[in-house]
């Protein structure tokens, strides 16, 4: 009871201070709304050692979360209940009620929901070879961070979240590598590559990021093809292809914009499919396949320019006449 009253008082005091609270006080970070309930629970598990309050009653309910400003109850609640499946928790962007620092760069111990999810998913990646792209991997990842495996409830899309996170991570790595190469070329420290070579290297680099997970990659691909994942996976694919072409030097503003990206998407997808079935040493067959596909596209492009019939068609219809 005394603990409850202390918690209430502290909660009110903390609310008054707003976002200034960064140092651990007698109480753990307060969370006075249901929306923050789960997030605070996760944090509290980390802060358990700092707290000097024994967890009080474990018969917490959602109503108490709503009304009470006490915080100890959440500690035990977190390890037991399924509040993780609470949909409102997803929309929280910070553990305190002040709306000033919603960008996530608050005090040292606070992080946004997204950052937390990202950390869990990154940790989960090392369990993928073992558990596949699944909730078990996410749960294992959460446990390595010291969080309860109930934190998997944060991920509505389950395995889809994990795969999409991995894809985004790979894409941003590739963008960094390409930007670095671009900088080198601009500084004159490296020679600019031929378009075909550049595309081949970019796709090879990107596909090599799948090698540690190649055993389970077919499962990931099928997850990406699920209807609710298709918009996201298409978006990531189009960003990837756009980035590669941009760094390859494409600055077209007509239909070439579309045809180039369509061609590269085709090359990338087929090469990925070949890769998951490839058993040659260091995936040499895949890279040969990639070479051939890129060569095909290059040939098609040069042939289109050279095709005679376009010119004679123009002559026939009088479009070449000078006016």
């Amino acid at each position: 009871m005394a603990a409850l009253l202390r918690g209430l008082r502290a909660g009110r005091a903390l609310r008054g201070l707003g976002s200034v609270v960064a140092t651990p006080t007698a109480t753990t970070p307060q969370c006075s709304s249901l929306r923050r309930g789960f997030h605070c629970a996760a944090l509290r598990l980390q802060d358990e050692s700092k707290s000097d309050k024994p967890p009080s009653s474990s018969s917490t309910t959602y109503h108490e979360h709503y009304q009470a400003h006490s915080t100890e109850q959440d500690t035990t609640a977190a390890s037991q209940e399924d509040s993780a499946s609470d949909p409102a928790a997803e929309t929280a962007s910070g553990p305190n009620t002040s709306y000033q620092d919603q960008s996530g760069e608050q005090g040292e111990e606070y992080e946004t929901e997204e950052q937390l999810q990202a950390r869990i998913l990154t940790a989960a990646l090392e369990f993928v070879p073992q558990h596949g792209w699944s909730m078990e991997a996410i749960a294992a990842g959460a446990e390595t961070l010291g969080l309860s495996s109930a934190s998997t409830g944060m991920f509505y899309n389950g395995a889809g979240d994990l795969v999409l996170h991995f894809i985004t991570h790979c894409n941003s790595q590739l963008t960094e590598i390409l930007a670095e190469q671009h900088k080198q070329v601009q500084l004159g420290q490296a020679e600019p590559k031929e378009t075909a070579d550049f595309l081949r290297d970019a796709i090879e680099t990107r596909l090599r990021m799948y090698i540690p997970y190649i055993e389970t990659w077919p499962q990931a691909m099928s997850i990406l093809l699920l209807p609710h994942n298709i918009p996201d996976s298409l978006k990531h694919l189009s960003t990837l292809v756009d980035d590669i072409w941009y760094y390859a030097g494409d600055r077209s503003t007509d239909m070439n914009w579309y045809t180039k990206r369509a061609a590269l998407t085709g090359i990338y997808n087929t090469t990925e499919l070949v890769m998951v079935q490839d058993s040659s040493p260091d995936f040499q067959d895949t890279w040969n396949f990639l070479d051939n596909r890129i060569q095909d596209v290059v040939n098609m492009a040069t042939t289109a320019k050279q095709v005679e019939c376009v010119v004679s068609l123009k002559n026939l219809t009088g479009l070449n006449q000078r006016r």
Partner: protein, 221 residues
């Protein structure tokens, strides 16, 4: 405070979502800065602004491309008549506009509208068919199209001014300049007996309706 920065930096490498967009924009912004001293549009602060600017520039690019094709169609029919040089002059100005937008699109990695082939054909057909009605027909088409475009530029200028005039000064300058050019073309069309065309009112409204539809679609597709 240092620990906060340290944690923020550590988490920075883990963050996905809006932060990735920010990072990609940072990469893109650095590229812009390295290739030009200044850019016409400011690096977008968030994906909403990026989408708004994308739409504005995509439809402007499509508009100039269409206008260029309309004049090409008119030239194909009237190129060797007395009005030829006049149409050629207006066409050259449109080509300059198109070049400018090509530059902006390429620099800022904006996707051009997928309907460009459609505007290619539709513009040429419109220009050629109105020119077949004679010089007055061509001028009436010019008046209708230029009026639509000017109105469209004006609404864009209003929208940008409402948002943040200082942030978009360069872009506003360009749009204003192009709008003034289009108004000149409009006035030229009127000077050269556009209104004497029988059915002028009908043709003008039909063309303007088509332009409105084209603008609506090009913003999105």
């Amino acid at each position: 405070m240092q620990r906060a920065a340290h944690t923020a930096l550590y988490d920075w490498s883990q963050i996905v979502g809006p932060a990735v967009i920010r990072r990609c924009l940072k990469c893109r912004a650095t590229l812009q800065q390295s290739s030009r001293a200044f850019s016409v549009i400011p690096p977008p602060r968030d994906s909403e602004e990026k989408e708004m600017l994308d739409r504005i520039l995509r439809v402007d690019h499509a508009g100039e491309y269409g206008a260029s094709r309309i004049y090409a169609g008119q030239m194909a029919v009237l190129g060797r008549t007395r009005t030829g040089p006049l149409i050629q002059e207006m066409w050259d100005q449109e080509k300059k506009h198109l070049e400018k937008f090509n530059e902006i699109l390429a620099e800022n990695r904006i996707r051009p509208t997928a309907l460009l082939p459609l505007w290619n054909i539709a513009g040429f057909v419109l220009g050629a068919s109105t020119a077949l009605l004679g010089k007055e027909g061509a001028m009436a088409c010019t008046v209708a199209v230029e009026e639509s475009i000017s109105e469209h530029y004006n609404s864009q200028i209003r929208a940008l001014m409402e948002k943040d005039p200082e942030r978009y000064t360069e872009l506003l300058k360009i749009i204003k300049e192009f709008r003034d050019d289009e108004m000149d073309h409009h006035d030229t069309g009127l000077e050269h007996d556009a209104e004497t065309l029988p059915g002028y009112w009908l043709l003008k409204n039909a063309i303007q309706l088509g332009c409105k539809a084209a603008i609506y679609v090009s913003q999105r597709v």
